[in-house]
């Protein structure tokens, strides 16, 4: 029994970066903007957090730097996708490549260094849970949340009511980037307490798929993220079992495909924000 609890706790801890990144992505998608750059923003956030924590000796400052770096790094995508009304999918993809490349290059000097200012894991678990509840309350209980959702559902109508559509979308993308940066920071200064190239390990992509899987609902994202955390944990824990471990390692990715197919089959995509992925231009239909 004790072992089961320990296993579940590891799953929850490993699900936490997925949860935090998914919540940020959920926020900007609720405002109608797709950002496939989560993986890149996580990598940049992780590097900024590690570099800051290592040089200042403060893990908390590192987390702050990771959050800010994620938010700033989201801005090129916001400008291209919102301001220039380019294809959001291509723009986000470019951001993912750029973030992985830049973090890999600039992080080389930190490769293999042990982190002295490491932070415990549990506060991040509670933070993830608190953020999920807070995002739910923001979206459904506050006026600002209503404004954000209306921008994602019907930007033309929102514009007509005097809502600054562009400003709301810019902020949503920036805050989404901050969440991704926080997820990366957790990996760098707490979970792994080190920097290695590719340490985000495709968790950003899982977070994007999870957003669809949980039908853009923050509270459901908690369970979904922990479930994927469990899959990763099993891939790690059953390494020496009869099942070749590569199959367990491939399982989360295969499952994403199955889940996306099931969601589409049950037509849950009706839950997507109406204007998701569509650039808004005033006066044009």
């Amino acid at each position: 029994m004790e072992e089961v609890w320990a296993a579940l706790l590891r799953s929850v801890i490993f699900g936490t970066p997925i949860l935090i990144a998914a919540l940020g992505n959920l926020l900007n998608e609720r405002a109608g903007v797709v950002n496939l750059g989560v993986e890149g923003m996580m990598a940049v956030g992780a590097l900024a957090a590690f570099a800051t924590a290592q040089t200042t000796g403060s893990g908390a400052l590192g987390v702050l730097a990771g959050v800010l770096a994620g938010g700033v790094f989201a801005l090129p995508h916001a400008f291209v996708a919102i301001g220039l009304r380019a294809n959001q999918f291509v723009s986000g993809l470019a951001l993912a490549m750029l973030g992985l490349g830049v973090a890999g290059l600039l992080g080389k000097r930190f490769e293999g260094q042990p982190l002295l200012a490491s932070l415990p894991e549990m506060p991040f678990v509670y933070l993830g849970l608190a953020l999920a509840v807070a995002l739910w309350a923001f979206l459904y209980l506050t006026h600002a949340g209503l404004v954000l959702r209306s921008v994602g559902e019907n930007p033309a109508a929102a514009d007509l009511l005097g809502i600054p559509v562009y400003r709301v979308r810019y902020w949503a993308v920036a805050v989404g980037g901050m969440f991704a940066g926080l997820a990366g920071a957790f990996l760098a200064v707490s979970y792994r307490s080190s920097w290695t190239e590719g340490m985000t390990n495709q968790l950003g992509w899982i977070a994007i798929a999870l957003t669809i899987f949980v039908a853009w609902e923050p509270l459901r994202a908690v369970l979904g993220a922990y479930f994927f955390g469990l899959l990763y944990y099993l891939g790690f824990a059953l390494q020496d079992s009869a099942i070749p471990s590569v199959f367990l390692q491939a399982l989360p990715y295969a499952l994403v495909i199955v889940v996306l197919a099931l969601v589409a089959w049950r037509r849950r995509q009706g839950a997507a924000p109406e204007a998701l992925g569509l650039p808004y231009e005033r006066g044009r239909r």
């Binding site: 496939l36 890149g40 090129p76 400008f79 291209v80 220039l84 009304r85 380019a86 294809n87 999918f89 291509v90 723009s91 993809l93 470019a94 951001l95 993912a96 490549m97 750029l98 973030g99 992985l100 490349g101 830049v102 890999g104 290059l105 600039l106 080389k108 190239e197 495709q202 992509w205 994007i208 798929a209 669809i212 070749p244 590569v246 199959f247 390692q249 491939a250 990715y253 295969a254 994403v256 495909i257 996306l260 197919a261 589409a264 089959w265 995509q269």
Partner: protein, 351 residues
């Protein structure tokens, strides 16, 4: 000041915008080099000296261009049909794996071995892309995420094979298969890694796809499905099957690229990350620069190939990780799609 929308900008305007975008991307990449501790001009001078100013560098560029032409031409066609195949990495790996299976376990004689490897590699890559194409055509599942996930499942499949059942006996201790028999190895230009049969195949297929896209009914259908699926449906064009064809072609060409890499360069199957090297992702920029024209991918592949070969040069000269190629890829793509806006809008001063 106001912006005026240009419905169909002139080709020179588009080219100028793309050229400026590339310069801007190189400028920002220079800033990244500077942050890494290498003066940008030194980095670019080293890159050019090691690639275009050196005969051996040219050969490196040429061999990097081979997979980029094949994958880029296929992606250009798929993008025209608005099928965003991000899974070329996986399709290259699966094509390479299928070819390795033929080379290692099917004792064919000399004239038949290589054609069989290319054929099986094409079919395997096509079938792998078909998974995502079927989900998109049948259920409307976004192919960006599914093709991306299929990259990782392909990676682990190859891992399993080279560490387990296909692991070689001759190279003990390494996760490789045995080397291919001589009749399964492609000839190269003397003293280089340029496996010229694949290069010829890539150029021919790029031209063939261009013909298919601009001169045939199927090409017309692909273009209409991409430009306006609603209109395509009203016109009686079978949208689903057309998407499947786009998926098969783009996956098949990526599979061929994988065959070329294992039969021409590695001569065995190994960790798929060492085979694909990010060609599948960078080919997206090749296709985007080619404006959805497969024939243009022959030229634009060379631009990315210079950066790939340059990645090796920078790695040796400044100990940069090879992923510096991702910095170029990401910046190019970001600035290119931004430049579209400036190609399509004219700034007018006054009222």
């Amino acid at each position: 000041m106001r912006l005026e929308y240009l419905p169909s900008p002139s080709p020179w305007r588009q080219t100028a915008a793309a050229g400026l975008a590339i310069l801007a991307a190189l400028g920002v990449a220079g800033l990244v080099f500077w942050a890494y501790g290498v003066p940008p001009l030194t980095a670019y001078a080293t890159l050019l000296r090691g690639t275009l100013a050196d005969p051996n560098g040219w050969a490196e560029v040429l061999r990097r261009a081979i997979p980029l032409i094949l994958v880029g031409a296929g992606l250009a066609l798929a993008f025209r049909a608005q099928f965003y195949n991000i899974g070329a990495e996986g399709q290259i790996a699966i094509g390479a794996t299928a070819a390795a299976g033929v080379a290692l376990f099917w004792p064919l004689e000399a004239p038949w071995m290589l054609p069989a490897m290319f054929l099986v590699g094409f079919l395997a890559g096509a079938a792998y892309a078909l998974v995502a194409a079927l989900l998109r055509a049948g259920l409307g599942v976004n192919e960006i995420l599914t093709t991306l996930m299929l990259n990782y499942t392909a990676y682990y499949l190859v891992q399993y094979l080279v560490q387990g059942p296909w692991r070689g006996r001759s190279l003990f201790g390494f996760a490789f298969t045995d080397p291919f028999p001589p009749q399964a190895v492609l000839p190269t230009l003397p003293g280089t890694l340029v496996h010229w049969p694949t290069l010829v195949l890539g150029v021919l297929l790029a031209l063939l796809l261009q013909f298919l896209l601009s001169r045939t009914t199927l090409g017309f259908r692909l273009r209409v499905v991409g430009a306006n699926p609603q209109a395509a449906r009203y016109a009686g064009i079978p949208v689903g099957p057309t998407l499947l064809v786009a998926g098969l072609i783009t996956g098949g060409l990526a599979g061929l690229a994988g065959v070329g890499e294992v039969a021409g360069i590695h001569k065995k199957l190994l960790d798929s990350g060492d085979i694909t090297l990010g060609y599948g992702f960078s080919a997206i920029i090749v296709a985007y620069l080619a404006r959805g024209q497969p024939a243009w991918a022959i030229l634009t592949a060379f631009l990315m190939a210079v950066l790939f070969a340059g990645g090796d040069v920078l790695k040796v000269a400044f100990q940069m990780p090879f992923r510096v190629v991702d910095v170029f890829s990401g910046l190019f793509l970001l600035f290119l799609i931004a430049s579209d806006f400036f190609a399509q809008h004219r700034v007018r001063w006054g009222r």
